[in-house]
Symmetry: C2
Amino acid sequence: MSKPLLQVALDHLDIPSALEATRALADEVDVLEMGTILCYAEGSKAVGILRALYPEKTIVADLKAADAGGTVAEIVFSQGANWMTVICNAPYATMEAALEVARKYNGDLQIELYGDWTFDHARKWREIGLTQAIYHRGRDAGLAGQQWGEEDLEKIRKLADMGFEVSVTGGLYAKDLDIFAGIPVKCFIAGRGLYGADDPARSARDFKDAINKYW
Amino acid sequence: MSKPLLQVALDHLDIPSALEATRALADEVDVLEMGTILCYAEGSKAVGILRALYPEKTIVADLKAADAGGTVAEIVFSQGANWMTVICNAPYATMEAALEVARKYNGDLQIELYGDWTFDHARKWREIGLTQAIYHRGRDAGLAGQQWGEEDLEKIRKLADMGFEVSVTGGLYAKDLDIFAGIPVKCFIAGRGLYGADDPARSARDFKDAINKYW
């Protein structure tokens, strides 16, 4: 089982705030994510800025795209994104169009799992050629008190068995990672759990220590 | 039955191109939409620019938000949006958070219908307090050959019967509106069917003529 990577979701309201976070965290994390909030606030130039500053990092554009897959993929991959997200209820045609552009740039597509998706859908995503999924406890769902549980772990295992590399996100802190022990996880994605800490770099090292302990 | 409004979806790759379209169309349409593509490309300052230029128009931020509803609603309503969209598989907590911010600004929330939503979901959206929905033939689904049909019309009627004001979008041209005759439609939303025409203002007037003919 590969060791999970650590991804920081930059869900800031402006680019300078996001860059304060990356200045503290870029040496410690594997993957930098332009969060949806940052994209809505500032647009995808955030991807180009991250690419210029961090040429060696994996960069994700978390668009959660629902439509116009080829067009929006071109926006972010042309600026240096490695991965881009689509929402799971997007039309299959949207996923196919985005994946085609992703491959042109040697990039990849990740499917964001929100709402009542099923494993029948998941089989179709594999047929289309998708190999990455993001298992999500939504930010608002987290605030509403939803916790990680055995049902989540079972779904993550099943997706992995189907051939998906599964990233995990939603209110994660280093102390939570033990519940995923033994499960293949592509990336642990955290936002405020990293840059919201008193010492963000230390928080990232705590995540890495937990990853090294359990994988 | 109220007369449907006409909405232009500005799905441009940059703000100047969008403003070329509004210069030609703003006098003819009722609602200006910052399309998701424009938002991904340029960020939500597009809303503030539209508000500054067109103080009297209804402005929609088509975010298709899936999470962090309160935060992203604040981004667009604080810049002058009247309406904002959420995607239909967003957590209910996301919809509630966005709706609370919308109401603070005397704005409203619209739910974007993509994928396998059900009328059980729709009843829940009404309970939360949502009263606007956007019935969608996705851009990529349209390119893949999906046409408007009786099944679509039946769903739109049923949503209207449940108390939703339903807007309709997806590859629409003025010549298509007759198929919706007799159905209550809040807005017809077109993008390239308006600004992609040789004479965009004329195309908008063709839409208005069709609306006046059938409603």
